[in-house]
């Protein structure tokens, strides 16, 4: 039977197992919305701004491992979605974004609500497609999902002109897809894996440095098994938190600019660095000239271009994380060589000394609500088992430092692009994917205002997100840099004329709480978590000038941290 392009599109999404579609209607996608209206398989979630559609799809993807899907109209719909697409691109999140386009015969004529969506999104997608013929639509959607979810994942945009959604064609969704120019490598090179294992066993001061690739590649169980077989310390990047249980004794905390003293010192002094699914980002390495001066480096990554991009490595292994780690585990089990127990014991002794510095200590008697205290309280009240999204800035770092993630897919933040406004819409995607889970959005009074309109979406769909706003009346991270590096000239970092967040939450039909006494933090947190079916906006009035420590200033090495 012949279907319209719009019907084909919706049926194809169903075939891909899409349960939620985050979107916003407009002229160019009206046929698609009409087709959506006439079915119940794909649930459409109406956001209040297209940026939120992409962040929500992103949060859905990060918390489930399945691709997130968004639908926006042409022109401003597409441009509003770009921030969310770029966010997903930087963090390699599988996502398919369908953008409406003006009819094919009007493309290039500066038609109403026309932009070159393919051109605009090209640098921030894994791939994009313009569908010019309805007979290509189903296959293009199949390809888009395949590309988005395989290899190093990433967002794929499908631009669909309006006439293509009205034209008719036979619908048959392809069972398989093959793209001659796209064959991502999965298995690692056996010889290289052997070399890596030998190098790991010869180490005296080893460390695992693992990133978001472990989570995206579903390799967390293998990482845990391998690390525990060897007894080596593990540090996670911001994107990798949860890939190794944070409460385990081998975990030395996050590394990098605001990483722990023990993680960064272990990195600096290690002799074998085992990098897995991490990309040597500048926020991790600090000054590249001073990075891991004593280390031989093993690097496992699915993306060859991540290897030796910033730091030259000794043993590169291209392959999927679980696949390569399984091979390593097999080799270790088959061989009789064991790690050097004596060297390892003295390495751990050194690490314990660094740990004893207690770099995350903070003042408990200031009489003010400390942001760190709020995160610790959230951790206690949720038994360490919540999904936590965040925005970008100080609160993001505190959440990463003080919430101990034992499981992957639980920590959801914009690491690469650093997108303020990400937290709340991402939490919507997480909550829809996990209706019974506790979802907390750790944010600040600056970030939350970038997508605050989504409080309306949360009401419409009854999403009981807990918003933990660390309100210090400053753009805290900007202020911190201005304090350290601009002699306290706080240019534009003060958030003046703030709304009353309690009343604001209430006006959207939610529960608002303001907490300004440190003695009330735990009680309020417990109370909020008990409100299972309500969104609670918790406005924590925190110490204004608290800083995130430790900190590696620009140009410094990992061993040159500023401590509290």
């Amino acid at each position: 039977m012949e279907l319209t392009g719009a019907e084909i599109l919706v049926r194809s999404l169903k075939e891909e197992g899409v349960t939620h579609l985050f979107g916003y209607p407009g002229g160019a996608v009206l046929h698609i919305y009409d087709a959506l209206y006439q079915q119940d398989d794909v649930k459409h979630i109406l956001v209040r701004h297209e940026q939120a559609a992409t962040h929500a799809a992103d949060g859905y993807a990060r918390s489930t491992g399945k691709p997130g899907v968004a639908l926006v109209t042409s022109g401003p719909g597409a441009t509003n979605a770009v921030t969310g697409i770029a966010t997903a691109f930087m963090d390699s999140i599988p996502m398919v974004v369908i953008t409406g386009q003006v009819p094919t015969d009007m493309i290039g004529n500066d038609a109403f609500q026309e932009v070159d969506s393919i051109g605009i999104t090209r640098p921030c997608v894994k791939h994009n497609f313009l569908v010019k013929d309805v007979t290509d639509l189903a296959e293009t959607i199949k390809k888009a999902f395949y590309i988005a979810t395989t290899g190093r994942p990433g967002p794929v945009v499908i631009d669909v002109p309006k006439d293509v959604t009205a034209d008719k064609a036979e619908f048959k969704y392809p069972d398989t897809v093959s793209i001659r120019s796209y064959n991502p490598v999965v298995t690692g090179h056996v010889g290289q894996i052997k070399r890596a294992v030998a190098m790991m066993l010869s180490a005296e001061r080893p460390i695992f440095y693992t990133g978001g690739g472990v989570i995206l590649g579903r390799g967390a169980p293998e990482l845990t098994e391998l690390a525990q077989m060897l007894g080596y310390p593990v540090t996670n990047t911001l994107m990798g938190l949860g890939a190794y249980p944070a409460t385990d004794k081998q975990f030395v905390g996050m590394l990098g600019m605001h990483g722990t003293y023990e993680a960064n010192m272990s990195m600096h002094h290690c002799d074998v660095l085992i990098a897995i699914g991490a990309r040597f980002d500048d926020r991790v390495t600090g000054n590249i000239e001073k990075f891991c001066p004593f280390a031989k480096i093993i690097h496992v990554d699915i993306d060859p271009s991540s290897i030796s991009k910033n730091v030259k490595v000794d043993v590169p292994i291209v392959g999927s994380v679980p696949n390569v780690l399984q091979e390593m585990i097999k080799l270790l089990k088959a061989g009789d060589k064991k790690p050097d127990a004596k060297a390892l014991a003295s390495w751990w002794k050194q690490i314990q000394e660094w740990r004893a510095v207690d770099c995350l200590k903070y003042d408990h008697d200031s009489g003010q609500v400390k942001p760190q205290q709020v995160i610790e309280s959230l951790y206690k009240a949720t038994h360490g088992d919540a999904f936590v999204t965040s925005d970008v800035g100080q609160h993001q770092m505190w959440a990463a430092q003080y919430y101990k993630f034992d499981k992957p897919y639980r920590w959801i933040n914009s690491g690469g692009l650093g997108t303020m406004g990400f937290g709340l819409p991402a939490a919507m995607g997480v909550q829809l994917a996990h209706p019974d889970a506790t979802v907390a959005c750790v944010t600040g009074e600056g970030s939350i205002q970038m997508c605050i309109q989504e409080l309306s979406t949360c009401l419409q769909y009854g999403l009981p997100i807990k918003i933990i706003a660390l309100n210090n009346r400053y753009l805290g991270m900007v202020r911190q840099w201005q304090e350290f590096f601009y002699q306290r000239r706080y240019a534009m970092s003060y958030m003046d004329a703030l709304p009353d967040f309690v009343k604001l939450a209430e006006s959207y039909g939610h529960v608002g709480m303001r907490i300004d006494n440190p003695a009330d933090v735990d009680g309020a947190m417990e109370e909020a978590m008990k409100l299972k079916d309500r969104l609670v906006f918790m406005d924590f009035v925190t110490d204004q000038e608290e800083n995130v420590y430790p900190m590696i200033p620009n140009g410094a090495g990992l061993n040159e941290m500023i401590l509290v």
Binding site: G119, L130, I147
Partner: protein, 163 residues
């Protein structure tokens, strides 16, 4: 170091801009770029001349390989290969210069494609170096314009980029 990268890619709308966009977004240098469809109309062949350190060239080839439309690529300069470029050179040709440019074209194995009372247009197909030498041999005042195609390259022997 100068490198010649040869790319076999899908003959799709936008494929060229993906390559060009990659170079500008990542700050890589393009000296020349040529592209045209192959005998199999579904594929295009592109030759890019670029320069950079070994690390940069490694990144360029890896990043190009990551583009979904790229089927295969090779850094031709790693092995024996042939490079050819075509130039069209329009010169003022009056009086004694007419004979002189005719001779010069013969020496360089060029062909005069267009003749008027006052001009010659000379075609030259050779290596980039030879084209530079040819243009240098002409009095700069007498060049009306030059057009160069950019380099096309292919490996020597039986090697091929075709899958």
């Amino acid at each position: 170091m100068r490198h010649v990268i040869s790319i076999l890619m899908e003959n799709e709308a936008g494929a060229l801009s993906r390559v060009a966009g990659l170079f500008s977004a990542r700050g890589y240098n393009i000296e020349s770029l040529t592209v045209a469809p192959t005998e199999d109309g579904s594929m295009s062949r592109m030759t890019i001349v670029t320069s950079g350190s070994e690390e940069i060239i490694e990144q360029i080839t890896k990043q190009l390989n990551k583009l979904i439309d790229v089927i295969k690529l090779v850094d031709l300069s790693e092995d024996e290969h042939i490079e050819r470029e075509m130039a069209l050179v329009k010169v003022k040709a009056v009086g004694e210069a007419r004979e002189e440019y005719k001779r010069l074209a013969d020496i360089f194995n060029g062909r005069i494609l267009d003749v008027t009372d006052t001009t010659y247009t000379i075609e030259l197909t050779d290596s980039g170096d030879r084209i530079v030498e040819f243009i240098a041999a002409i009095n700069a005042d007498e060049i009306i314009e030059t057009v160069r195609s950019g380099v096309s390259g292919i490996a020597r022997g039986e090697k091929s980029l075709y899958p």
